[in-house]
């Protein structure tokens, strides 16, 4: 494996990690505020469908983004209602919303487009296109040199290779996701709102005693989770893919939750954890059957690897982590 191949795998890992990173940060806000969110999966799916459908109909990916995020926020609102206002079981609510999303996206896709539960492929302005950063090798350089871009990058020096392949050439949402990491850190650990949000996940009674509304804080967390999760779905359907496909979230919501535990409920480590899962998926995509000196690892094993790793991480073989204390418990105000 040469240097360029490694860079290419890392590049693909970054793309695949992006939806996980958005979802993981969504889970971070939600769980830090004391609400389990198994429903990330459903929110990703709902947003993926809405964004693709609207982007196809209007031809504008930005309108798609808006509607995708709106769909995700609506699911978040129902989850908030069930787990905050009506003090229902948060796991059950999340699972219910996942089923609802899984069914309703196919139903709506079939009713609107009649293509067996998917949207037609998105073209042109219906998708987020790669952004070429300054000084990166791109199409125009290739045309000027008169050789294919692939060859041009092969001949470039390693730093230019890393820059052109790995850093440049992603869609805007990838960079947004990366920006969200320091932003989430800042909001959670350097603002008053963040302090209160974390407190509400550890000891809501104390927050209430201080005269701050637990309910409002938790709804705010659900709103943020809805937006972030929405971006995850939007990226999946309009950046990574080109349209909505039935069940396209493929367990990413759950994997994001596992990454969150692995990351010990911290934004910066969440970046590392989701990148690891992205890397795994990238390797599985690139090498269908891996031949280890006579023993061939079947493709199904490679496909199952992210799920297996999720279990291994949850088993805590990688160090234990402590969840927010009040996670999953509805808050009942004393009278």
């Amino acid at each position: 494996m040469d240097f360029l191949t490694i860079i290419q795998i890392a590049d693909s890992a970054l793309r695949l990690a992006t939806p996980l990173l958005f979802a993981c940060l969504a889970g971070l806000f939600s769980e830090r505020a004391g609400i389990f969110d198994i429903g990330l999966e459903g929110k990703i799916l709902a947003s993926a469908f809405m964004s693709a459908a609207i982007a196809f109909v209007t031809g504008s990916v930005w309108l798609g983004l808006l509607c995708g995020v709106f769909a995700s926020i609506s699911f978040s609102a129902v989850h908030g209602m069930a787990s905050i206002t009506f003090r229902g079981n948060q796991l059950i609510s999340g699972v219910a919303l996942n089923f609802l999303a899984s069914g309703i996206t196919v139903l709506a896709a079939q009713a609107w487009f009649g293509q067996g539960g998917r949207t037609p492929p998105l073209m042109g302005g219906g998708r987020f296109l790669p952004i070429e950063l300054p000084f990166a090798l791109g199409k125009s350089d290739a045309e000027a040199a008169g050789v294919p871009l692939r060859i041009l990058i092969e001949q470039a020096n390693p730093i230019q290779q890393v820059y052109s392949e790995f850093i440049s050439g992603h869609t805007v949402l990838v960079y947004v996701a990366l920006l969200m990491v320091p932003l989430s850190w800042f909001v959670l650990f350097r603002t008053r709102f963040g302090l209160r949000l974390r407190a509400v996940g550890e000891n809501p009674a104390a927050v209430d005693t201080a005269g701050v509304s637990v309910i409002k804080l938790r709804y705010a967390a659900m709103l943020i989770a809805g937006i972030l999760c929405g971006l995850s779905g939007v990226y999946l359907a309009t950046g990574l893919g080109a349209g909505f496909i039935k069940e396209m979230s493929a367990g990413r919501g759950y994997i994001a939750l596992a990454a969150l535990i692995f990351a010990k409920w911290r934004p910066v480590t969440a970046l590392g954890a989701t990148f690891l899962f992205g890397l795994l998926e990238a390797i599985a995509n690139r090498y269908q059957n891996i031949d280890l000196g006579g023993i061939v690892i079947p493709v199904q094993f490679m496909q199952a690897l992210p799920y297996i790793l999720t279990v291994v991480i949850l088993a805590g073989f990688v160090g234990s982590s402590v969840a927010p204390k009040a996670g999953g418990q509805p808050y009942v105000k004393e009278r």
């Binding site: 069930a82 229902g88 699972v95 219910a96 609802l100 309703i104 139903l107 759950y254 199904q300 279990v311």
Partner: protein, 368 residues
Amino acid sequence: MDKMPKWADIALIPFLNLLIAFVLSGLVIFAIGENPFKALMTMIDGAFGSTYGWGYTLYYTTNFIFTGLAVSIAFKAAMFNIGGEGQAMIGGLGVGIACLFIPAVLMPHWTIALVFAMIAGAIFGAGWALIPAYLQAKRGSHVVITTIMFNFIATALMGYLLIGPLKLKSAQESASASFPDVTNLPTLHEVLAPLGISFSKSAPANVSLFIALAMCVVVYLLMNRSRLGYEIRAFGESPTASVYAGISPTKIIIIAMMLSGAISGLMAINATMGQHERLILNAVEGAGFIGIAVALMGRNHPFGVLLAALLFGFLYQGGSELSLWSKIPRELIVVIQGLVILFTGALDNMVRMPVERMFIAAAKRKDA
């Protein structure tokens, strides 16, 4: 009086929850441009209009009784087992291996084959639940996420086996060889014919239905009349209190989850052995997930599970008929399932709180 009467708790509230879920489902059908009443009529006719329809409805009901009971046992121990789908898949693998590889001399009759298949299905299903159960009990890994992961892993494993080692070489599709004839279970047609009742020949309902009904009784006795059942319920109600009573959390979590997995695995005698008569991909068809809705709707009681399973059997069969005769795809059932879980499981208080207040107010007025 500061509580509502018992009948309201076990009948009125679930009914109202269900009503909301169905009205919303109707609105969904309306929103995609179809007539909900016409759709309901098509569903009823497709599920109950003929013995053929009944045969499918009861076949699905059988599946859902198994998976519903499985989820409810885990619920009693405060475990949320979403892995019924994978456990049933792997249970099917056990049933398939028993049917394909136990030599014919050991299985002279279908009853004996059924016993072997049940043992294998239960062991495989329980085995698939063991790792998530162990990790929950010993390492605190969340059973919800691990069981979902095991569903994905089960799909990959079955995919590998059915295009690799277990695949019938001469066939195009990913499926094993057909099971030997002796393992084929009598269908309801064959069971009812001697009694002079004519029943559709081509419908898949089979003797597994009676095993499922018997399982309801067994689970009832186990949960309500045995020491183990008591321990499971005590642990589910209050883990800390049960520890003081000398109940081992590790033991209860593992046993409850394995029982749950075993009953999920038993579903395969209906689907794999009774219907498909060979191993195929996706023999479970989402029944593991529907088990969650069935258990919640049935209030985790075996009799409730039976009723809820029948309802979902109707919805499932009616839904597939509907997809044949209209533009509404089969995924409608997933929407209904999601809404039922949402309203009976998570938004229960939305109905319960106002109804409770109403009853209390009515009682006060009476007193005064």
